[in-house]
Symmetry: C2
Subunit: 393 residues, 2 copies
């Protein structure tokens, strides 16, 4: 019996436990101080009424023999997949219902998609980035090539001719940097992938936060992308589904590699190793895409985006370099005075009683940077900015 | 870019599409005939009131800022893991809350658990069996050794000294055969695994159907099992959760291989590639384990078991050999007159207007056998047995 020894190569992440430890220490020393958390990566506003109503109806259906639902199709009910198609159609993108796969969230699909690819593909991953991309590939023993985000490329790395790889992760709007690729930049990636028959795994979990109509909210807005990209979307941040669990992944029919349809491979993976999302949750997700639902979730997104704007305005005023904050709930700032990520964490905690997330937690190239998030309460965000303005950096 | 070429080795299953085609043909020829489906592998009774009430409350909580829940622990809320521990305690089995992992169902976990094992382990799989065991191992390119179920071993194969392998699947009560291992038989498997440091993947999805108090409902009722077995449970058939999606997997702390804790490896897999089960569903699952919930689901299980008993009694009376039907919702019968699985399918459809499932669909050793299920309506089961009694085999 041999275990998968690749698991032993994973680094334990002490990021959030170290944050908790430091906050506890501070609190023991200063029990009277009000700490404001701007590190939170989870939504705080409740589910919108359209979703709550739909789920109440679905729960009642499940308790009635006439309307009870047993197994559904693993890839999701047609009513929800059609709703996703309609949502794409509004962006000018036509996709077929069988190109849509409903899942319990982008995190699951981003990890599980690797099952359909050979382990000896070379994988390109931006640094800094959402740690799941790295860990899931270490687990499979794949070779990873990092491409660096930095101040010069605004944390939006692009390929050059020499870049070689089979699979590339792109997250836009990015977690943790909040940076968003333009159409022109995404076209460079698509052309690069088409030329090499590489596959782009496009993490679009934050697309609903994009305010600027010129920015792409789907990779399929770029010509040729259907032949080289899989897109992962989520209702977690869009509609407050972090605890309700529903996402969707698009695998276009055009996407073929080694003479095989990736759509069919993924269908086979999902029908074999997954049993679908709860009917109740799918009805809640369907409600998100109704006219009423879209209006209600927009109010919540606007609330978070306004929070982000308040943070961004303050940093601009103080002359602190940052990305994100306009089309994303994340603000990624350069630590003032060349402080390291953890030095700035301590500085902010002890001088402003604000907790954020050290950039080094998202990769080596995150050193010297820091993530703030817009998911908090308005009055806390405002108060935090007052404290930051009063601080001498 | 290389795809996972193991996927190309998977056989497409035409079982259920071929059944549908044959039923359609029959219906076109005999539009007036009432067909009774005894092939259905899905529950038909609705969720019990305790579960429906709990989920309504949880939906309301999700719509209120004060009680809203975002991300939960990937391995499940403590309230549900504790409820599972209490359920085990009633069986005389003490497990720790951190040995319990809540999931979206046994199918997902049975597939995903393979991630923590090296691909060059030898896997032992009974034939006939639930097809997921075979397909998930083909996907990973593992060597599979089949052990045969047959009339002589009552479809409960046991290891002999010569049997060599690293991972073995045991499903008891079995799908599709309905056969249940005794304590003495499971002890043979546990001793075999302990001696070789093999790991047993024990699929216990149908444990709640066991009526005979002498039969084990968990592998952990066998001494030593915590050092060699992972147990997969599900609320799908137990509580009608096939469309609600919740299961749980137990990975004991004692279970170590290659100096690594399988509990820690699985925790790492789940925290990296999974984001937990919906809060609403976990509250529904918690309600299953309350006194009221357990009483309500028992009524439903009794209904299915009584259906199974009606079928079993008829087959006994007719002298048809079968397993299952007493401690399981499945009845696995030997096709009369040495008919093949598909010959008997046609015979039953055209003579009795009954649809079942050909045994060959569950593996080569299922040829000549046939599965009936007890998930239908009582009056249909009774009417089906009248038709079978009137038929000359």
């Amino acid at each position: 019996m041999k275990i998968n020894s690749n698991y032993l190569k994973l680094k334990d992440s002490y990021l959030f436990s170290l944050i908790a430890k430091k906050v506890d220490e501070f609190r023991n020393q200063h029990p009277q101080k009000d700490i404001i958390r701007l590190g939170i990566g989870d939504v705080t506003l409740p589910l919108v009424p359209a979703v709550v109503d739909a789920m109440h109806r679905a729960v009642s259906e499940m308790g009635n023999a006439e309307t009870f639902k047993g197994y559904g199709e693993e890839q999701g009910y047609a009513f929800l997949r059609q709703a996703v198609c309609n949502y794409y159609a509004k962006k000018g993108i036509m996709i077929d219902i069988d190109e849509v796969f409903i899942s319990d969230g982008a995190k699951s699909d981003l990890g599980n998609i690797l099952d359909i690819f050979d382990t000896d593909n070379k994988v390109i991953i931006p640094d800094p980035v959402y740690p799941v991309y790295v860990d899931t590939n270490i687990m499979a023993g794949r070779e990873i090539i990092f491409i660096n985000g930095n101040v010069h490329n605004n944390f939006l790395p692009l390929p050059d001719e020499s870049l070689d790889g089979d699979i590339v992760y792109i997250c836009s709007p990015n977690n943790p940097t909040g940076a968003v690729y333009t159409r022109e930049q995404l076209k460079i990636w698509v052309d690069w992938a088409l030329e090499r028959q590489a596959v782009i795994l496009f993490d679009s979990a934050y697309e609903a936060f994009i305010q600027d109509n010129n920015l792409p909210t789907s990779i399929y807005q770029i010509p040729g992308a259907k032949s080289c990209a899989i897109e992962f979307c989520s209702l977690s941040k869009t509609a407050g589904f972090t605890g309700t669990r529903c996402g969707y992944t698009v695998v276009p029919f055009e996407l073929e590699r080694s003479n095989a349809s990736l759509n069919k491979l993924w269908l086979r993976r999902q029908t074999t190793k997954f049993n679908g999302v709860p009917y109740i949750v799918q009805r809640g997700a369907e409600a998100v895409f109704t006219e009423t639902g879209l209006k209600q979730i927009k109010d919540n997104i606007d609330y978070y985006i306004d929070n982000a704007g308040i943070i961004a305005d303050t940093l601009t005023e103080l002359g602190i370099w940052f990305t994100g904050g306009r089309n994303s709930p994340y603000i990624w700032l350069k630590c003032p005075n060349n402080m390291s990520s953890w030095e700035f964490f301590d500085f902010l905690l002890y001088n402003c009683k604000i907790v954020g997330t050290p950039g080094i937690g998202f990769g080596n190239k995150g050193e010297g940077f820091f993530r703030l998030t817009a998911f908090g309460k308005r009055q806390n965000v405002t108060e935090a900015m007052v404290r930051i303005r009063q601080t001498k950096f």
